[in-house]
């Protein structure tokens, strides 16, 4: 399997997972589940709301981060080097 094809499959898989999360969030918003979770904060189940908020953002961040990375790879953008100090000329540059 070529590298490009493998990246395309990864992009498709990540898109499906992200799509499922989007569907889940919209669904819970429209059914009023989030309002119910606000009420949980007054009860012993409040920690679930806190974990859900934190977890959703972290999971979405990781998935979207991966997805965007793979997408740019699929487009063909590659990073060749990192910009660091040129230590050989550094002494004369610093103020």
């Amino acid at each position: 399997m070529s590298r490009r094809k493998r990246v395309a499959i990864q992009v498709a898989a990540l898109s499906i997972i992200c799509g499922l999360i989007i569907w889940h969030v919209v669904q819970w918003h429209s059914t009023g589940m989030y309002l119910e979770m606000f009420r949980w904060l007054q009860t012993s189940r409040g920690y679930l709301t806190v974990l859900y908020n934190l977890g959703l953002m972290l999971v979405l961040g990781v998935l979207l981060g991966f997805l965007m990375g793979k997408l740019t790879k699929l487009i063909g953008y590659e990073v060749h080097d990192t910009k660091l100090f040129d230590h050989k000329t550094e002494a004369s540059e610093t103020e």
Partner: protein
């Protein structure tokens, strides 16, 4: 209009627009973006406590995406970030306690806001002056037809701090820095106190302390700062979620928009010099200072003043629009410069030919 909570209706397109704009700034400058996001949400109609909580929650996801992208670009020093965040967390807790103690003593919010304004003005003006001085230096090199190095240290102070031999000395291979653990802990702790006192995510303080004090290249500071912000924002998110201040659906919409903005902002860093990041960061900090001055004036007057409210909206949206436009302009100029087309002479020292 879209119902987010009973009684709170938000224009979903404005949420997307703000998420996109702040995302670009965040990916480019390594800041969480809370100093634009929170007032923008308040202007959109969020109650203040919801705006702060939702903004901090959004910053987690946004910073994760930004850190991922910058890691791919080779701009994240995870080891340095982890060491610094431990000290910064301690400092943040101390900062929060200082604020609580000050309130117990009867010192009002005006005092905290005044300290924040002084801090923002000092940091913003210093950054702009340093960037201008460095730009002049680069312009002179260009006039003499000298080849510009890939990266240059912002100040000599970081080299002096690195020269202090206080074991254990830590070497950070990724950023090419060797410095005493105690100096990193001290800087992290001090930054944490400032963040705690000012009540912000602290991206701009982190980026600038990494550049000016520890001596990281600007882009490495941007990526490492985003990595650290994940932890500080998570801490804020937990505290605000427990108080019921987070509208997760709004944070979710904004993150879908900002993920594109962050990618663009981060990729623009491959086309510009570190100097450009410091320039735009300096301008953003000063815009933020003006916004804080208006807020302080409003508090001191003790009543709602129309022109102050209009000014506040103008500063928030105008400032955000201005910084995004500057990033876009830099990108377009960099593309022209690379393809050999003529560009304005003052832009040449801000962009790079190499990827």
């Amino acid at each position: 209009m879209f119902p987010i909570l009973p009684g709170v209706e938000i224009n979903i397109f404005l949420l997307i627009f703000i998420g996109l704009g702040v995302g670009i700034l965040s990916g480019f400058a390594g800041v969480g973006g809370g100093f634009f996001m929170t007032p923008a949400l308040i202007i959109l109609g969020f109650p203040a406590h919801f705006a702060v909580g939702t903004s901090l929650t959004w910053i987690i996801g946004n910073s994760v995406i930004g850190a991922f992208r910058h890691r791919q670009l080779g701009n994240v020093d995870i080891k340095l970030g982890l060491v610094m965040i431990i000290a910064a967390m301690g400092g943040m807790e101390v900062g929060v306690r200082i604020i609580n103690w000050a309130r117990d003593l009867g010192l009002a919010d005006e005092v905290v806001l005044s300290i924040s304004i002084c801090m923002l003005l000092i940091v913003g003006i210093y950054t702009l002056l340093e960037s201008t001085r460095r730009k002049r230096q680069l312009d002179q090199m260009l006039v003499k037809k000298e080849k510009l190095p890939p990266a240059m240290r912002a100040t000599g102070l970081s080299q002096k701090l690195q020269g202090i031999d206080m074991p254990p000395m830590l070497h950070f291979t990724k950023s090419g820095v060797t410095i005493s653990l105690w100096i990193i802990l001290a800087i992290g702790f001090f930054v944490g106190i400032l963040v705690g006192v000012m009540g912000v995510g602290g991206g701009f303080i982190l980026v600038l302390s990494l550049v000016y004090l520890i001596g990281l290249p600007s882009f490495m500071a941007v990526g490492t700062s985003l990595f650290q912000i994940i932890f500080s924002a998570a801490y804020g998110c937990i505290r605000h979620s427990m108080s019921g201040n987070v509208i997760i659906f709004a944070a979710f919409i904004m993150i879908l928009a900002s993920c594109l903005g962050v990618q663009f902002g981060a990729l623009v860093t491959r086309y510009v010099r570190g100097l450009s990041v410091r320039y735009i960061l300096g301008i953003s900090i000063l815009i933020c200072a003006v916004g804080a001055i208006l807020k302080l004036t409003n508090i001191l007057l003790g009543e709602t003043v129309t022109w102050l409210e209009i000014g506040s909206v103008g500063i928030t949206f105008g400032g955000l629009g201005l910084t995004v436009l500057m990033i876009l302009a830099l990108f377009i100029m960099a593309l022209r410069y690379r393809s050999g087309q003529p560009v304005l002479s003052w832009v040449e020292s801000l962009v790079t030919k190499e990827d």
